[in-house]
Symmetry: D2
């Protein structure tokens, strides 16, 4: 246990001591065999996390945003048309990135709190007889709203009209925390990062590419060098890196994969569901509402919670930070001031979640929210007691 | 925040990350000037923590038990008489140590839950006209019972009959957490350690010696070498150590002192009181009783709590550990099975305390204790809200 | 001292323990005030390292290659003409990057081992009456050849014809090791990284931008989002980051700046010169030649050394690694097999350099190079003895 | 490689990064099952390092000096006679400790540089018809003189007269670096510590006890509590510790054992011999002499080297430290000013040793020693080249 309270932002997550130590690595020569030995099994392990056998992993020293840029600049050309729904800040940002790279972005604006609109996608794709749409972009987990979209339904929508567009999925805040099936869902490019389900420092974008995505590289005319898949794949193939690799994160990732596989991915998912459900019980006990519109959309990594009318969520999160030293996620975009977010992903335990609930409860009480002190904690305790396992402890 | 839940044992405490890093020290030559530069200010800082200007600090690479042995073997001779009360496991162990070193130990057995019996001390000392009693031994904070004794009242008892015995105080689990006044209370030898209020790893006994204690060294005939004050003082005087010093703990102690002085000792004490009081409110809300017999005896570093009749406290602490991954202190000695202990010392926050209370609450509910889920948490929340400060965060 | 031998690659460098610890940082909320407090002084300190008062710092989570891409994509448009000399692998790579981004690159091929051709630049710029050339790109320190170019002479060449092109300088392997004068040399964009003179892990590109470079952003039509200066500058201005920041590197950089300023930049430069000169004396004693053509071009961070005819430098570096566990730089590009490189930058001491020289000497002797065992070491020892200071120790 | 030059003191040794990380451990409850799981295999592994199947391990949080005190106070009574040779500072200190504990110490003064006088022991023991001598104390490796004694010859001397005295051996600076055979040599108590061959921080005494030593506890009347074998053995038997254990060192020891067993003890010994022999070749090339009188006495962990007449070894070691930042061992006791010591034990490589030799060579040349710069390095290089293996690298 550290000197700090846990953070309850939806990533970067609380970093387990074991990973802090694993990232504390002295320089080795990245052109020497030691580096290859460290890196190759990481690429293999990552494929398992994506649940892919046919996919190809590429990583870049960058944030997840760099991963988005890599996805489009390696497969598309200026003026190419892409289809994407906007229902939160992160889907918005991906749209903005596409526009700034000169793509023709067909945006479907949806209510924040809703998921990816598979039916509308299906209708638009069916109408796209010329297959002008080159890619469909979906945010698996909208970190701003706490909404998880159904990727399989989007794939089905595409298959319904046998549309050849690439399916690109942002799984930055879902991978290694909620079920993700790269092969099973027919994803072409999945974009994630080191600082969420992998519980590491930020600094590495992690992508999985289908054979179809790889084939798209040849015709793609958007300029890229730093994020060029080919340079990375060529270098990786011989155990190298096209430029200086982020050795510390690679070593951390190796240990992170050990932690995940030791717990078992299905257990990791189950633990995230249990923790998230505890949070949702607390929210219910407080009489508050989630931004996510329906249970099938509830995210297991982050819950966005509306504050009652007349309250400002920024005042709440600032108060929690200033008075109790605990960080919660603020409301982003149109939710700013209207909702706060509780991140519940990564190396987290029942016990840690309860401390977050107790804290935000105190903060709400301090600000005269109409809530009963202890009620949310008790609701979560009740749920955890009934659904606990001896896996309640996070990674050692 | 680390991968672990906090521990709620009464020491070793949760180690702040800043101290984990400070102890991560590569070997330097302990005979070189660098060592002197690291060590000298530590000795000076420790004096301030003991609140002493005339005292002399000595440290040994050992646990606190080694500090006890050092205290008696450097100042007493075989057959010397010492006066001591037994009211918990730690006072008992010191008695046992004295007996094994051939001292004539006058034991006053007191109920566990009571403090040092100043009045009985006074009467015995008054009767000791020949001044056969060479030392009075007091446990400032009985870690087994959560009882803090009033050292000043013992000093007054000694002064009442102008008794020349040495006043030796075990402050292992109180120093740097609760007020301690070496000079003000007329203490002759105070014994502490690195792993409680200093928030470090175990491995260093820390003592403060009055001029009278130093003078007693000359006549003391108990054998000692490893724990010999003279060797240590001679070596320290020239910046050295009589054998290999525990460099990592010395560097850690330097940083620990920075943390303590940055917060301010009075603020450290106030924080411990507030956290302890929150715990006591929770205990009250559960309808349980403390082992400590009265509020003036309540320890601010550990609370020993009786379980209701018919329950076994060992089952409770095992269950909390096995199911929720949280360590609480077990009942020791005659309290085994009858009480559990909540440690609340060191680098701890309101938020961390609430997580401990929420956990033991769940564990009690699981075992059908007659308690209301959430009640203890709510009572502590209420107290913390009303008495919080913007110093709620522990050391960064 | 760690378990490893030092590396003698020209970056990433040996990371001081103090920086390994400084980078071992638990997650904090990057939207909270703590982050601002950590980040703002880093930006200020970096300006001092670039020796700039008017420049603006931007950083990206990426390698130095990302910094190059940021430099051109934020200031240039497709088809823009740039002037650049190719005299090593790193200047070549920057050229390649420009070409892949659709720039019109006028390449001056120079012998490897030579520096930036200021005279030829001057003549070409004088002829460019229409000012079609938008930027002159120079590699301050060619890591592949161990050549340091004279940036001021390039600036003078530009000034001679009052040419308005931007002066972009790659100082990845020179900044914080050899004198660099952003303002004094009239640089418009300087590109560096965390893993060389700053002695940190790889993962952060560090740029300094002149007002003229900032002004060029408006007209620049190369697409960029991840590396967009405007997003970064806007976010930084309010203490934020446009995406998840590399917290660990930022904290490391804060400590790195402390180390550099404690030693004093001029002392840092002097130490690098002394260490480099010791290496050069050893090379001379072995009877071998540097790739750098003349003393005014000698780099103080890396020496590229020709192996004698008939020897393969890859066999040598592999042998040193396999037999003695020490990494040296291989010959890159047209120097592959013909030269090896000794990196001598970052947190390095005389003593560490001597261990590298002793090692490569053994390796050369093992492979029957015509060298005298101990001769290079002795030559370096002689130089260090005569030019040593009590600053011979690297950062504690 | 860290920021520091290696130390060449004969312990504490350079700590491998892997062990620095392994010791960086957050508090766990030492009364919980996790502790038992960490501790039990350590005890088992230590037996293997002592090469014992019948021995019993005990450890104490203390320096090696505490181990000496434990050895005598648990097996002897006031006035008991012990036989011991004095031929260096460490044998002297053990004698002093015995005397201060009231033992009757029969001291054989031998020239410093000689080993344990087995023949004189044999004669004295043969004369001790009443078996008044209760223990023979031998320093396996005299760290002050660089002399390794032949323990088997002492055992043979004892066996020659079938003398029942206990054989106690100080192997603090030899265990896990040079061959040691607890069972094979008939040792009764071997005393070592964490900070030499185990490459850890100081702070743990490590002992191995024969059944005969255990039997001697019953009659032993020297007082002891902190160092009482019985308390420790009783507590260890149930997975506990009689007081707060040094968790960080226990975890470090677990990793240290992994490092040692991965390399293989025989390889560890061979590496120490090779490194020591390289140092000895350098000493020979300088024309200097070892304190150790003959090759059979040469220690593989430390070499004590006489400086030429007219030179002061303290000036030399101070100069090496002040000018080059490297710590060598000073001459101790009667060797002060006359000899310096080169420690060459623990996690050390050829390359590191060469850096130490190059440094002391520079220092000697600076002070006008009649030595040839580079000569010692070249002699060691020649030896390492001819006797190197691909195990030249220390633990990763």
């Amino acid at each position: 246990m550290s000197n700090q309270n846990p953070v309850f932002i939806p990533g970067p997550t609380n970093i387990p001591d074991r990973l802090l130590r694993a990232m504390q690595v002295q320089t080795i020569d990245h052109r020497a065999p030691d580096f290859v030995q460290a890196f190759a099994p990481v690429l293999e392990g990552l494929k398992q996390v994506f649940r892919s056998t046919t996919g190809q992993i590429v990583t870049f020293p960058s944030s997840g945003t760099g991963g988005w840029e890599a996805a489009i600049s390696n497969t598309l050309s200026p003026g190419d048309k892409v289809l994407v729904a906007r229902h939160g800040v992160f889907s918005h940002r991906w749209i903005d990135l596409c526009q700034r790279h000169g793509l023709d972005v067909q945006v479907i604006d949806c209510p924040w709190g809703s998921g990816a609109p598979a039916e509308r996608f299906q209708s638009i794709l069916a109408d796209d007889r010329n297959h002008d749409i080159r890619a469909v972009l979906v945010t698996h987990n909208e970190t701003a709203t706490g909404v998880r979209s159904d990727i399989l339904s989007v794939r089905s929508a595409m298959d319904a009209s046998a549309h050849p567009a690439l399916l690109m999925v942002d799984c930055v805040s879902s991978l290694a925390s909620m079920p993700f099936e790269f092969d099973g869902w027919g994803v072409d490019i999945a974009v994630s990062g080191s600082q969420k389900g992998f519980m590491l420092a930020a600094g590495m974008a992690i992508l999985c590419l289908s054979p179809k995505a790889l084939a798209a590289m040849d015709g793609a005319r958007l300029p890229r060098t730093y994020f060029d898949f080919r340079d990375m794949l060529d270098a990786n193939a011989s155990g190298g890196f096209p430029y200086t690799p982020p050795l510390q994160l690679i070593c951390g990732l190796q240990e992170s994969l050990s932690i995940l596989f030791d717990e078992g991915l299905d257990n990791v998912y189950a633990r995230h569901f249990r923790l998230a459900e505890g949070v949702r019980r607390a929210v219910g006990a407080w009489g508050l509402s989630l931004v996510a519109q329906s249970p099938d959309l509830y995210s297991d990594t982050v819950s966005a919670v509306y504050v009652p009318d007349g309250f400002d969520s920024n005042v709440l999160t600032n108060h929690a930070y200033d008075t109790y030293g605990v960080s919660f996620g603020i409301g982003l975009g149109q939710l700013n001031g209207k909702a706060f977010r509780i991140g519940h992903l990564g190396s987290l335990t029942d016990v840690m979640v309860l401390s977050g609930l107790a804290t935000i409860e105190m903060a709400m009480a301090d600000l005269n929210y109409p809530i009963q002190l202890g009620s949310g904690v008790a609701a979560a305790q009740e749920y955890f007691r009934a659904n606990g396992t001896n896996r309640s402890r996070a990674a050692a």
